[in-house]
Symmetry: C2
Subunit: 234 residues, 2 copies
Amino acid sequence: MSSPAMSSPASPSPPRTGPYERTHRTTPTRYRDRVSYDRELVHAILDDGFLCHLGFVRDGAPVVLPTLYGRVGERLYVHGSTGSAPLRAAGRAGEPGMPVCLTVTHVDGLVLARSAFNHSVNYRCVVVHGTARPVTDPEELSTALDALVDQAVPGRAADSRPASAKERAATAVLRVDLDEVSAKVRAGGTDDDPEDLALPYWSGVVPVTAVRGTPVPADDLVPGIPVPGYLTGR
Amino acid sequence: MSSPAMSSPASPSPPRTGPYERTHRTTPTRYRDRVSYDRELVHAILDDGFLCHLGFVRDGAPVVLPTLYGRVGERLYVHGSTGSAPLRAAGRAGEPGMPVCLTVTHVDGLVLARSAFNHSVNYRCVVVHGTARPVTDPEELSTALDALVDQAVPGRAADSRPASAKERAATAVLRVDLDEVSAKVRAGGTDDDPEDLALPYWSGVVPVTAVRGTPVPADDLVPGIPVPGYLTGR
């Protein structure tokens, strides 16, 4: 069952340009004006986050679990040790891979229209349909582990103790290629029906942002170690 | 095919107490100390959010889409008009319902250990396994539509124009009962291996919070309408 094609070398995918190809699965039936296949937009939305919701099928039923990801070019890496037996199975060398749907969503605002019906949310979302395959190549595994740390805190991977051989063996990492991808974005203000504009209800947008607070050092931090620049933005 | 049992009346589910029953699907294989079936904890996590990731199976493959939800007692309501044909099909009266997995996740912090391996995220998550069924009872539909608006902004449903008959007919709402449910929580500080404590790497937690900014009124807002108290917290 084992195949060397299961995990290609860590060299990046061939550079691709232009939009992602639209497929049946990435064509929405509603709000078609909100969908985009723009590669840079997809990358930007993915790079603005670090947590995805990973869906797979177990015993015919859907399962959706939150997990961390890291993007390297046209590949996403996710932790396969999410407590799910099928995911861990997909992570074993020799398995054919597992169909997954990986979704990343940022909420940017609450859109309060005069009418309940026209209430909405400003958001940016990327949906990836693909196959999760185990990362077995040692060099690619290193790349993936760094990406998983750096996705949330760029620069952190180089400023932490690298994984030992034992830790690497305990970490199942899956790869999902960015082939069948779409973005969906809702931005801007309220979109009320003309006949609602004079109604006596407040209307507008409440911005929502994921804010990072002041880093809290560990109680047992070695004295004298400053908060790193990649956390303070300096 | 139509069955009166498809949508029971809008009266709330019989009150239930005590933890949710653990099932095979809600028993994790890793981090079992992080899982909980506590009903109040599940409710609190759900009530702290308004966006879920809804998973279902289409042509044998998983699909995960972000959508809004509202909780009413032991029921969740979600918009079925998410652009997905299967979801809309599940929303038609007479359909037997659709297996779904509905997941809500809040990120509370980035946990930076000395070792890359022990990096983690503080989070609160609820995973609901169940069946999405259409809401057809008119009274329950009203309750559901209000809940969908009030979940994000409590008090807003009563301060907006209610849906017209035409709008109600255009809104597919699905119900998912809270039967097979678990919460998962990671909180607290770093969890480094003892032999890593003396390493010269900063270690600690970066808090993450979803912050709501100052409400931005619509350009065409009727002059003199103040920002409502349910948005200012006053």
